[in-house]
């Protein structure tokens, strides 16, 4: 069984991937860390020097969590609001 994860891309990630939003087909019980690994792999070494905070369904997750089908995941590169 696979799950579909919606990944919204911003800033450095968007630069590297070239799209606003992508859909990832992943194995059941995939985790937020798995999404990060997958994105890093997809973008070769473009995101090597960047550390991410991960948000699932618009909330920061402080540690690795399991994902469900239809979850929205965003890799948040260093922010500069204000």
């Amino acid at each position: 069984m696979s799950i579909e994860i919606k990944v919204k891309c911003f800033a450095h990630v968007k630069n590297a991937i070239g799209k606003d939003i992508i859909s990832l087909k992943m194995k059941e019980n995939s985790t937020s860390d798995d999404v990060e690994k997958m994105i890093r792999k997809m973008t070769n070494s473009k995101l090597n020097n960047i550390s991410f905070k991960i948000a699932v369904n618009q909330k920061y997750v402080s540690s690795n969590i399991s994902l469900n089908d239809g979850d929205e995941v965003v890799l948040i590169s260093p922010v500069q609001g204000g």
């Binding site: 911003f10 948000a55 909330k59 920061y60 965003v74 948040i76 590169s77 922010v79 500069q80 609001g81």
Partner: protein, 133 residues
């Protein structure tokens, strides 16, 4: 109480505030510089994760109200294309006395810059853009 906004509209300080309180009223205006990362810029483009940015701002504003004895916090963060010299962030904090306003504002701004999913792009003189380092 809190009143927060994130949108592309030009910020006119004090406009659209639903309330004014008595006592100390502390205002912060963040105006876009014309230099960033040692390069001259025409302005900044603020990219944001729309749904989450608003949630985080509300959360942070409520947290500030809980942490400090302030009465009201009003915050407008502008996103999109902002020219140098225009205001991108406006914050108003009111409390009975100024001590708590200063402390609350300082804490709020520090947290805001770390937490809100908002990114800055510099618009260089030649029109090209780069993420601010």
């Amino acid at each position: 109480m809190i009143q927060v906004e994130i949108n592309k509209k030009i910020i006119t300080p004090f406009e659209d505030i639903d309330f004014f309180d008595l006592g100390s009223e502390l205002v912060f205006n963040g105006r876009v510089r014309n230099i960033e990362n040692n390069q001259k810029i025409l302005g900044l483009y603020y990219e944001h994760y729309e749904e989450m940015a608003m949630k985080e701002l509300i959360k942070l504003s409520n947290e500030t109200l809980d942490r400090f004895p302030i009465r009201h916090l009003f915050c407008k963060h502008r996103v999109g294309e902002v020219l140098s010299g225009e205001v991108s962030l406006f914050v108003l904090v009111s409390s009975s006395h100024r001590k708590e306003s200063f402390e609350a504002l300082q804490w709020f701004l520090t947290k805001l810059k770390k937490q809100l999913p908002i990114w800055k792009w510099m618009i260089l003189e030649n029109g090209k853009r780069e993420l601010v380092k």
